[in-house]
Structures are given as C-alpha cells and as structure tokens.
Symmetry: C2
Subunit: 612 residues, 2 copies
Amino acid sequence: MKPMPISIDTLKEKGRRLRIDSLKATTEAGSGHPSSCLSAADLMSVVFFNEMRFDPKDPSNPANDRFILSKGHAAPLLWSAYAEAGIISEKDLLTLRRLDSNLEGHPTPRMPWVDVASGSLGQGLSAGLGNALAARLDNIPYNTYVLLGDGECAEGSVWEAAALASYYKASNLYAIIDVNGLGQSQRTMDSFDVNRFAGKFRAFGWFAVTVDGHSYADILEAFDKCRREGGTQPRALVAKTFKGKGVSMLENLEGWHGKAIPKPDLPKALAELEQPLGPNEFNPNPRTGFSKQQVEATIDILVARQPGESVATREAYGDALVKVADKDRRIVALDGDTKNSTFSEKLLKAHPDRFFEMFIAEQNMVGVAMGLAARGKIPFVSTFAAFLTRAYDQIRMAGVSQSNVKFCGSHAGVSIGEDGPSQMGLEDMAMFRPIPGSVVLYPSDAVSAERLVLEAARRRGICYIRTSRPKTSVLYANDEQFPIGGSKVPKKSANDRVTVVAAGITLHEALKAASKLEAEGMPIRVIDAYSVKPIDTRTILAAAQETGGRVLVVEDHYEEGGLGDAVLEAVGNQASVVKLAVREIPRSGPPEALIEKYGISSGHIVAAVKKF
Amino acid sequence: MKPMPISIDTLKEKGRRLRIDSLKATTEAGSGHPSSCLSAADLMSVVFFNEMRFDPKDPSNPANDRFILSKGHAAPLLWSAYAEAGIISEKDLLTLRRLDSNLEGHPTPRMPWVDVASGSLGQGLSAGLGNALAARLDNIPYNTYVLLGDGECAEGSVWEAAALASYYKASNLYAIIDVNGLGQSQRTMDSFDVNRFAGKFRAFGWFAVTVDGHSYADILEAFDKCRREGGTQPRALVAKTFKGKGVSMLENLEGWHGKAIPKPDLPKALAELEQPLGPNEFNPNPRTGFSKQQVEATIDILVARQPGESVATREAYGDALVKVADKDRRIVALDGDTKNSTFSEKLLKAHPDRFFEMFIAEQNMVGVAMGLAARGKIPFVSTFAAFLTRAYDQIRMAGVSQSNVKFCGSHAGVSIGEDGPSQMGLEDMAMFRPIPGSVVLYPSDAVSAERLVLEAARRRGICYIRTSRPKTSVLYANDEQFPIGGSKVPKKSANDRVTVVAAGITLHEALKAASKLEAEGMPIRVIDAYSVKPIDTRTILAAAQETGGRVLVVEDHYEEGGLGDAVLEAVGNQASVVKLAVREIPRSGPPEALIEKYGISSGHIVAAVKKF
C-alpha cells in the first residue's frame, strides 16, 4: 500500500494551503466562489493527499484514482489541489478565469485531469458512476471520488445516480457531500441536517457515514469505516461544514455566494490563515503496471440486407451495434428500459458485460455515458428520441466536455402512431444541432442505418442517430457508403422540376410522390439528407440550381430547428425553400393517418410540388 | 362528510368493471398497455370511488379533488374510471387511440378532466405538488392524488418532487405507487421491494404506508391511516401489485408490456372477469360553495425608466414581475435558488405568499408550474437560461399540455463572462422555438424587458423571456409598446446599405457598429427583433428590400435554432442572410473579450457589413 502514512498535521497544512490558494486566485480574478471552496478544503485535503492514488506526472495512467468536482463552482479549490499536488504551478493559479487560461470558472476537460465538465449541478455522481463501471470493465482497481455540494442534492439526477450505483454495487465509488447549509440565495432545503442526507443515501442503498467536515480525524476514520464496513455498497461521506470556514469575514454567512474577497480585504483574510500547521509534503503513490487501453484501428462491418426486405431503422441500429461492438471492445451500450424498442437489447444478448440497463432515468444514463467515455469507452446511449429531452442539460454538458458519446433516439416523429404526442420525438434534431461539433444522422433504411452506426462509432465526438418505429423498405445496396456530411440522390432526371429533400420516414413519402409525379410527367429530384448535420450543402445547392431554384423539405419533426432549417442555411438565397413539417401538437392515431393529417405525406408533397 | 360509506363490494365491482373496460378498449384499439391498467385497477377503484370528492358533471368545480395519472401509459384505466364515474360513456371507450377521439394513447388535457399531459414518466408528482400548492393559495380543501408506476420512480424528478412536497408540508398530496415489479423490458430495479420504496419516501420526509394493492381492506385502511397519522406530511401508499392482475394470460408475466390482447383471445380473458362482485353504484359527493377563480381583465403597468439609465434586463424582469403580480393575483413565481441572479426575489419581497423557492431542481420546478397553471395560476419560472435545459422534457410536456407557463432564462450567452460555458445559455432559443404555439421574447433594455413581461402575462400559452446578465442602457421611451410578433427599428435612414437584425446584448453591439459605420459614410438599418417567435417577417422583409437584400443577423446564441434561423425562415430567398453567432464551446473570460472572441462584437458587425 502506501510507502508511509501521511500525518494529520501534513493534511492540515495542505488544507490551509488550499484555502490560501483559493482565496488568492479568486481575488486576483475578481470573481468566483471562494466561500464554497473553503467549506470543502479539509475534505479535499484528505481525499487528494491521503485517499487517492495517482501519478501527478501522468494524467493518462489508467490506474489513477479519479476525482470529479460535481460542485463545479468550487473550481479554484480543484485548481489549488492540482497546484499542491504539483500538477500545475502556484503561479498558474493566478490565471484563474482568464481567457488564455485552462483554469476556467468551472472545470472543463481543457484541463487534462478533468474527466467531465461540471458547473451544471447534480451531474458529477453520474459521471463518477460511469468511471466506476469502466474500472470494473477494465478490471483496474481505481476508485472514483465525487465531491458534491448539499444544494445540488436537490437535483433528481443525484438520486438517479445513487439508485443505479447501488444497483450496480459500485463499491469503488465515493460520494463526499459538503453540507455547508447555504445555497446561492438562501439556506438549503435540509440546512445542516446531515442525518437526513445520510438517511436518503442509505434508503437508496448506500453505505453512508456522517462526519464533521473540518475534523481530519473524523474524515480519516470515515474513509476507514467505509473500507471496513462498506461491503459491496457505494459509499457516502456526509460532512457538516461551514461555508467560508477559516476566514471570519466569510464563515457561515449568507450573501457571500459567488463573491471574491475584494483586494483590500485579502490580507486580513489571509492573516487568519498564516500559521503553518505541519510539514508541506506530498509523496504520491501511484498504482503501476496497468496497461493503457488499446485503441482500435479503423473498423468496418459487413452489411447484408436483402433487396425488398422491410426493416425498421431502429432494428438495423441494434444489428449494427453488435457488429461494431464485435470489432471494437471500447463500444458499450446503455438504455433506459426501452431496449426492446430501440433494439439495443441485441447488444445485451451478444455482449452482456458491455450493456448497462440504466432503467427509466435518462439524465443519469447520459451522465454515466460521459464517465465511460472519459475512461476511453465509446458509449451508445439509446431511448425514445422524445425521452432524450429529459437529459438535455447532460447532453449540453457532454458538448462542453467534448465527450465521445453516441446517442440513438428511436420512435422519432408522428410516424410512431397511436401512442400520441408524449412519445413522439419532434424536437430532437433541434436539440442536438446547436451543440458545437455535433453530428446528426437520420437513416431511412436498414443499410444506411447500419452504415451510419459505423460512421458514428468511427467519429470522435457527439453523434446523434435518429431512428424510426415503422418498417421501411431497403433502398440501398449493401456496399453503399454513407460518409458523414454526405447525401444520396435516389431519384434524379435531367428534367426535374423541384428538389425534394427528405430523410427517414419522409424519404419514402418523397419517393412515393416522385412516382406519382413522374406518371403525371412532372419529374422531381429526391435527396436523402441522411447527414442532417453537417448537411451536404454542395449536393443540395447543385440540385436546387438544376431544378429551377425550387426546394421542398419534408420532415417528421417540428418546423423549427430540424432538417428544414439545415437546408435553409445551406441554400441561403440561392433557392426558394418550402418546408413541410409538423406544426401543431399531434394526436394519437394510425401512423399513415398522422403523416397525412400533419402534412408530410406523399400527397402533401405532390400538392406542394404542384403549387411551386 | 360522505352521505353514506361505499361498500367494499361496490368498490370491488368498480375494480372489476375498470378491468373489463380497459381490456375491451385496448383490444378494440389494437394497442395500448392493458397489463399496466390491471395492476392499478383496485387502487384506482378506491381512489376514484371512495377517496376522491368531485362533481362528475362539473370539471371546473374548484373544489374537485384532482387525479393525475403519472403512469400515463395506463390511460385506458383513467378513461375507464371516467366512464364508471359517468363522465364519459362506455361507448366512448371504444374510440381509444382513434384520430377523432380525445381518448388518446396517453392522457392530454384535450380531455377536460386531465390537468397535465402525462406519458413522459416521472412528471406527475411535480404537477400534483403544483395542484397542492394552488389549493393552499386558494384556501380550498381539495386533495390531489397521483398514481405512479414503480418503474418511473427511477426518474430523479420524482425525488425532486418528493423533497419539495415534504419541504412545503403538502399534506393534501397523495402518491400511490403501483409496484407491479415489471418494467417495459425487464424487472424493475427494486422489483417488489415495497419496503425499500417506502423507505425512500420516508427518507424524503413523507408519511408512507405499504399495502397489498389488490386488497380493498388494506387500501382503505392505508388511506385512513394517512388521515389519522399523516400530520403535515405528504402521503404515499406503496402498493404491491401484479401486472395484468385478474387475467391469467397476463398476470405477472414478462413480455406483455404495451401489448393489447388479440381479439380472438379477448373472450377468454373477459370470462375470468365475468362474475359481478357487488352493486354497481357511484354517488358522487362533491364539495360545494367554493367560488371559481376570478379572471382579470387585461392588465397594464407603468414603466418609469430614466433616459441614460443602465439596467440589466434581468433586473427589469424582476421589477415588472412585481408590477404584473400587483395587478393580477393569479401571477406566481418559482425559482431554482437563483432568485438573487434572476431578480425574481423582488416578487418574494413584494408577495412572499406567491413566490415558491424550488431549490436546485429545475425539472420539478417546471412540473409544479404546470400544476399551478392547470389550477388557474400564471406561473413565471426563472433560472439561468442554461439550466432550463435541465427541464426540457417537462417544457416539451408543457407544450403537449398547452400549459400557461412563463419561463425566464437569465444569463443568456457568452456575455455572462468568467463563469464559463456551463453557465451560458446558448441553446435556449433553439429549445423553445420548436414548441408549437410558443412565444420567444428577447428584450434588450429595461423598458422592453418590462413590457415583454407584461405581454407574456397577458398571453395564454408558453412564453419564454431571455434576459442578459450585463447592464444595458435604456433605449426606449417609457410608453413604447412591444407587442408579441413586432420589432423595433432603432436605426434607419434612406441610404442604409445593410439590415442588421439583433436582439438583447447584440442590439447594443449593432448600434455601436451603426455609429462607426455612419461615421464612415456607410449607414445601416438596425432591427431589434425582440420577438424572436413569432418573428416580425413583414418589417424584416421590407428592410431587406430597402437595403439591397443584405441582411446580417447577430446573436449571443449558437448558430443553429436561434434568431438567425428565425430570420432565414422569414426572408427565404428574398435576401442574402449572413449569420454571426457563437460557433464553438466558449471559454471563461471577461464579457467584452468573449463577445469579441466569438465573433458577435460591434467590430465583427462592422467587418461583416463591409464584406457584404
């Protein structure tokens, strides 16, 4: 184990220095949350300098214990811990919140030691669980420590993570709750009631210990107790603390949240912390001998659909998921109790160890995926497209984290039929398109669905795959390629009058419309915009020019933010664009009836083309 | 109290009939979730026909007890209860899931008795808490009963609602948990462990009783116990049940979720339920004498800003909130522990009884607002724009519910500065615009902010108000009007070369750019698109035509889904549109530096205009 135990005096000294560092950095920056740093400084000292095993010189050591600052506004405390561990210099701390610095106001993975961005509260425990599950998959004995504020425990996502961590017996996961009793604008809901917090964690299946968060003996004993008695349970230290602890002008006072000490007052505050409390030492004790994850060379799959076969894109998603997972061990899947609808259950059957049932808790599911991705996995997250909205904040933060997470939203649009509007994903593309660097893919047949799963697996970054509930006929040859940013032109003649851009279900409506119109001597161009973002501007523009500047976009999505807007952006003023999209809250009814009623059927396409 | 107690035999008979109704309706529809109806039929019978007091002839009786089916997929059971209560006819039940029927696959308020749409799981308890708080505000002694599935209790939003209901001592709120142990794709996380469920509710401050959900004596006694011993706590009945109870081909079997019994098998299933169990009676016992909420005539406010004054739109939001609330008693406010940043705290100070601190739990906050709106309140929900993403599913469902909820997202865009990307709302407009019927407002000064709060209060439906962190100078006269769908043209001359469309922070950058360009003899038109949805197409098109078809849009938002897309849609091919928007994940830094770095400053506007 450890070369020699670190003394309490040394830990106290580290705590003192973390406080000083945090105050200096925030005062220099002129903003930040020093009081939220001070409440957790003693907990942080014990976690970083006694509990955790890591190599400060090698952030990529696969056996480093992981630390996630869920209460991201205490970022200066994290940067200070890095400084005290020798990861960054003390001078770096004074660049806090500067445009040229990676020491941002809230942690982001621009700092290599940070696994996931935090600052949107209540998300860290899910990412920590992702780390913990990755550790188990890779059979590496590292632990993950997540520091949470008490205020953020009001977020339901914390309890989603708590339930799942217990379900998965994540005994390699520690939650440290900094119960300082003060929120941003008033006392927290449960104030200093650490027993109530501990009771909640216990009810959710955790081993929970309450401690005085400013007593080093207490904190050390609590960690020991977790090791002795925690068994297979995830472990929580619920610590009573004071916001601003150690500096009388801040300590346990309201009105100081998110405020730096003004420069003139800093010396007085520091004076209260000037006395060294012990030796300033840190002898890291990293685990060695664990090999880094092997990164696959580019993978490929074989697609073997029959011409004329009718297969839902959601089912092809499941088939392809197994194929890419066969080739790349990093690929894992998560689902929110919809695996028999999204067909991710195919991966469960093929590789049970690499499938995680996340139950009906989408926020945690996405958070866990971020943690898995941070540890080198390629997670595919699936549920109904509608229910991914439940995790938009996590998806947004996956964007900030530049996470390598793949999303599949099934049952997109009114074409799901009778289940009604609550189950119809109609704003999913609008949700994913704004994320910088995101890719939005929308297959219309089994071949393109399989190919796009492959493309998503190969691409680093956030990819969203939109699948449909109904079966659709196979349109493409098995060896057809579907590069991201491309498109297909399944219908084309020299005399096309209008370009119809469609994807997914509406592509089939467009092809039906094309046949009808052709019979009437009015040929149209049909573009399969399977890559909604990035959109194939070149092909669409060229088609628009060849069809008299007439473009019709038809999509099973609300009119704002989806394919129509992507096409508008692509063609600009170089064509006249008409959009067919869903424009009101749909009702329950048969798929065909809904496609008709909400104006995106082949009949509506025919009418719109004629109107042009 | 009751005219005479209803007998257990009568309740059993109602339960039997609810089962038969649910089976017939789903088999006729050919889809639906009969097994999920059958597990809850006995609970439903007691709730509807013994516990609740309501007037089946008057859905608008303000003292009716409320029922929310959080497990919305059991909609046929709800419709069956309506039929058994005489609200609809038994014949209506056979229209289930038809396009021309209000008996949708999941409940929506198209059926007058439904307060909020359900079907996205885990949201009902929040709406129930909203009802419960409304009851207290209006001093009417009705109760709200929420029926939840066990699977949906994995959703964190349930625990957000649980914590807040306890905090607000909502003893007029009952949660009934139908623990049938089976999810969609497998056993639930906690299976039949009703004690674990009850333990969770108790840890969250509830009075919880476990029952056999198929024993009428048990259920009745549990409700009595809640009344006797529940005190000021919200109450939970945790009921062990069997999915498909009463029909042997379904009972407690996997593989039946979301499947109707095929027509040929229906007689066999019904045969098991054919024996009447008691008299079929229901004598409603509504509360009388409670007056309906008075609806205000159109309200108005007085705006009194000083020319040259500098005020953040978020602060003006708070000022106006008090003014509209002074005039209309229906107006209430909710905030997620950011009230000193969003300035909703002004309402807390002015009308403490009409402000609800919802702590850091945005999903529940929005759900509670939906419940309050369903009971005639006009809730204004505020937090950072970024954190409204946390509640996108609830916002989406507020859309499906056609709720009268107002949202204010503060701290929009990179202009917040050093706190960094996690705190910057950059996809908020993209999120709100797709919701059918939604209004998106974006004031740029204190006068427009106040006026737009008034417009939002007057308008029925979902309105989103986007406010900014920095102070901005007052641009408009106090009596200027800002109708929804309008715009302003603060800079205009006959020789304008380009139309710049901006809003919020970027309007001030556009005006700065206009001054610089005017000095260089290059006048531009500036449009304040304060109504992003609906957008003022007429004014923008006219300006585009008058400025040579050159339109520049500049916004503190990601490039997809915001003002730029709204303008693209408005002008179509009648102008050339260039967008300036945020195109990457921003960093921490000073507001001005970020506006510059991410390409939306006056300098970038000048350059883009020149490039045109």
